[in-house]
């Protein structure tokens, strides 16, 4: 099955019942699949007039109690940024799948690049934290989409699935588990008017006073207090918002942003990577090991919040770190920061951006690094 199809299946399995979209490559197959699956589940598929409207309607649907998602690629992701900030500000659970392609601008529509990593983190104005997951396989397009919904429901925040053209379009075996075996998290809904009134800004995530239940919720992107009441001029109010909505995510970095360690225990050199680049890296580790070179792999399954502590610990005894990204170094500063002074970090983009890393090229760099 194709990665994009797996993503759609994961969304529906997670309970997604609203999907809004504006046509864009290479995310199209997600929409095609959703338009087939959702009506059968009495869910809404709607094609909106642009990506701004797509994310806007997703937020509206989420506030009305549905699990909601949109999918796009770089150009559409840029258009969504303002409303992603609104979702952060109003603590709205929703999932945004960004199938990254080569940019800037229209770029190359069907070439892989990881150019939206920093945009995912800081694309909307203002100060905030975001959750972004990076699938490396069609299987993870399924599983991480479910996880994205779970995290968004748990922390009441938008979650980005930062896929790329390669994982979206590659076809490989995907195992769809039995529905009963999936762990699905649903947002907490207030059980009383009193609880509903305090619908925002709790370190432990306030139950969501969804619309249409008689809660008389007041939801605003303006600065507000824990009752949703506008506090449009007090610096203390926005200070509290920024700290609370950031901390509710940062405090759980270790649970949210998982890492995968492959053969790191005896490694002198570690490849650090994420997304489709991890596929080349896995292959290179295998090849290098066959040559007797002690190479390991650290794969970031979640990019934001960046798991500094886990990365720092995992790479503590590594002499050389090679960071593979299909860009000019967007996650690199985070790795350098996490590995600090004692480790030398080498940055390794593909020889030509928007192509995959060639294994022989990476292997050559590994051999130079161990020399």
């Amino acid at each position: 099955m194709q990665g994009n199809e797996a993503c759609a299946l994961g969304a529906v399995a997670a309970g997604c019942r609203f999907f809004a979209f504006y046509p864009i490559t290479p995310a199209g197959e997600i929409a095609e699949k959703m338009s087939q699956l959702l009506p059968k589940a009495r869910g809404v598929y709607i094609q909106m007039e642009d990506e701004i409207a797509a994310i806007g309607s997703v937020i509206g649907a989420s506030w009305t109690g549905l699990k909601a998602m949109t999918a796009t690629s770089g150009p559409g992701f840029s258009l969504m940024q303002e409303n992603i900030g609104y979702a952060v500000m109003t603590e709205t659970p929703c999932v945004i799948v960004d199938v990254q392609r080569a940019g800037p601008s229209t770029g190359i529509v069907s070439a892989p690049m990881q150019g939206d990593v920093v945009q995912a983190r800081h694309g909307s104005h203002g100060e905030y934290e975001i959750i972004a997951l990076a699938p490396s396989s069609a299987q993870e397009m399924f599983g991480m989409t479910i996880r994205a919904f779970n995290l968004s429901e748990q922390y009441r925040t938008p979650v980005i699935v930062l896929a790329d053209e390669t994982v979206a379009h590659m076809r490989e075996e995907v195992i769809i588990p039995e529905e009963e075996s999936l762990s699905i998290i649903n947002r907490r809904i207030p059980s009383s008017q009193e609880e509903a009134a305090r619908g925002f800004l709790s370190a432990s995530v306030a139950p969501m006073p969804v619309l249409g239940k008689g809660f008389s919720a007041h939801v605003t992107g303006s600065s507000h207090d824990e009752y949703g009441k506008r506090e449009a001029s007090a610096p203390e109010a926005i200070d509290k918002i920024v700290r609370t909505i950031s901390e509710k995510i940062k405090a759980h970095t270790a649970e949210i942003s998982e890492i995968e360690k492959v053969l790191l225990d005896d490694a002198k050199v570690a490849l650090v990577t994420y997304g489709s680049c991890a596929r080349t890296a896995e292959y290179v580790v295998k090849q290098a090991r066959e040559k007797g070179i002690n190479v390991g792999l650290l794969r970031l399954k979640g990019l934001w919040p960046f798991p500094s502590e886990a990365v720092s610990k995992a790479l503590a005894s590594i002499h050389r770190v090679i960071v593979l990204e299909n860009n000019l170094g967007q996650i690199l500063p985070e790795i350098e920061r996490a590995t600090a002074a004692e480790t030398k970090t080498i940055f390794l983009p593909p020889e030509t951006l928007a192509t995959l890393h060639r294994p022989d090229y990476v292997l050559q760099q590994v051999m130079e690094a161990v020399r």
Binding site: A53, T64, L211
Partner: protein, 278 residues
């Protein structure tokens, strides 16, 4: 709003919402009261209403004063958000409060597409022909020649006729009144609340501070008298030339037709899809 206690519509106001943000003489108070009168007369429970507010002075009509679920969203996007709300729960009465800048400049695309797809959202657009909140900048609805803070030599561009725009895009109930025509405004709001399809209510409203002053009518009551004088009914307008109509407000109900509403079509789609999958 302690002064409002004892007012027959006070029960519709959010408890604890204090002083409002509108300038003295603003038409938003008239729009607010007209809407609450319509709700009261139609008898829709407030529990069933969701107000979606855009950015601009008009957004402050429901937010935070109406005691209903309120989504105060990003500039230009309330109709897009409202589309999601209505599709997610078609039982809700979803009402958008927007302004001429919010819904015809930055949000123009959402307006025409919502009308085209006939989503059962009711849009109340307060058209004051200017950007009031940000400082009196020219709007897509500002008549030609008007001097604003950003057209110090006079506006070069032609204004949008918002109601006509929505009629052309497929709106199924479209009406325009001014803040002077309160009784008819309330009547059209009631009609809109009783219709299933996409409804657009344009209310030409006075902004004495940012618009009235520029055109030499800074007294709110004078502006409303000016609305009265410059308004012509749709019927009368048919006998007038474009030149004669250039400085007039054409008022009335432009269209009132029943076309299948989008959430009804979805309900049918769900039935068909479940039959197909069985």
């Amino acid at each position: 709003m302690s002064e409002a206690e004892g007012h027959p519509l006070a029960k519709y106001l959010r408890k604890g919402a204090k002083s409002h943000t509108h300038c003295s003489g603003c038409g938003n108070g008239i729009v607010a009261q007209s809407f609450l009168r319509a709700v009261d007369q139609v008898g829709i429970p407030m529990k069933r209403i969701v107000c979606v507010a855009g950015i601009g002075c008009s957004g402050w009509i429901p937010s935070p004063f109406f005691d209903v679920d309120t989504l105060h969203v990003t500039h230009g996007r309330p109709i897009a958000f409202a589309t999601g709300v209505k599709l997610a729960n078609p039982e809700l009465e979803v009402v958008v409060f927007t302004g001429d800048g919010d819904c015809s400049a930055i949000g123009g695309n959402h307006l025409i597409h919502a009308a085209r797809r006939n989503i059962g959202v009711k849009v109340i657009c307060v058209n004051n022909m200017i950007y009031g909140m940000t400082g009196g900048e020219v709007a897509p609805t500002t008549p030609r020649g008007i001097r604003t803070t950003t057209t110090p030599f006079g506006n070069l561009e032609r204004p949008f006729d918002l109601s006509k725009l929505v009629v052309a895009a497929g709106g199924t109930f479209v009406a325009r009144w001014t803040t002077y025509h309160v009784a008819r405004l309330v009547a059209s709001m009631k009609t809109a609340l009783n219709r299933r399809g996409f409804s657009f209510l344009e209310v030409v409203s006075q902004c004495p501070v940012q618009y009235g002053r520029r055109i030499g009518i800074s007294e709110p009551v004078e502006m409303m008298r000016w609305f009265q004088k410059q308004s012509v009914t749709i019927e009368k307008s048919r006998e007038m030339s474009g030149q004669e109509l250039s400085d007039k407000f054409v008022i009335g109900e432009f269209v009132d037709v029943e076309v299948p509403e989008l959430t009804q079509l979805y309900a049918e789609l769900f039935e068909a899809a479940s039959r197909e999958s069985n």
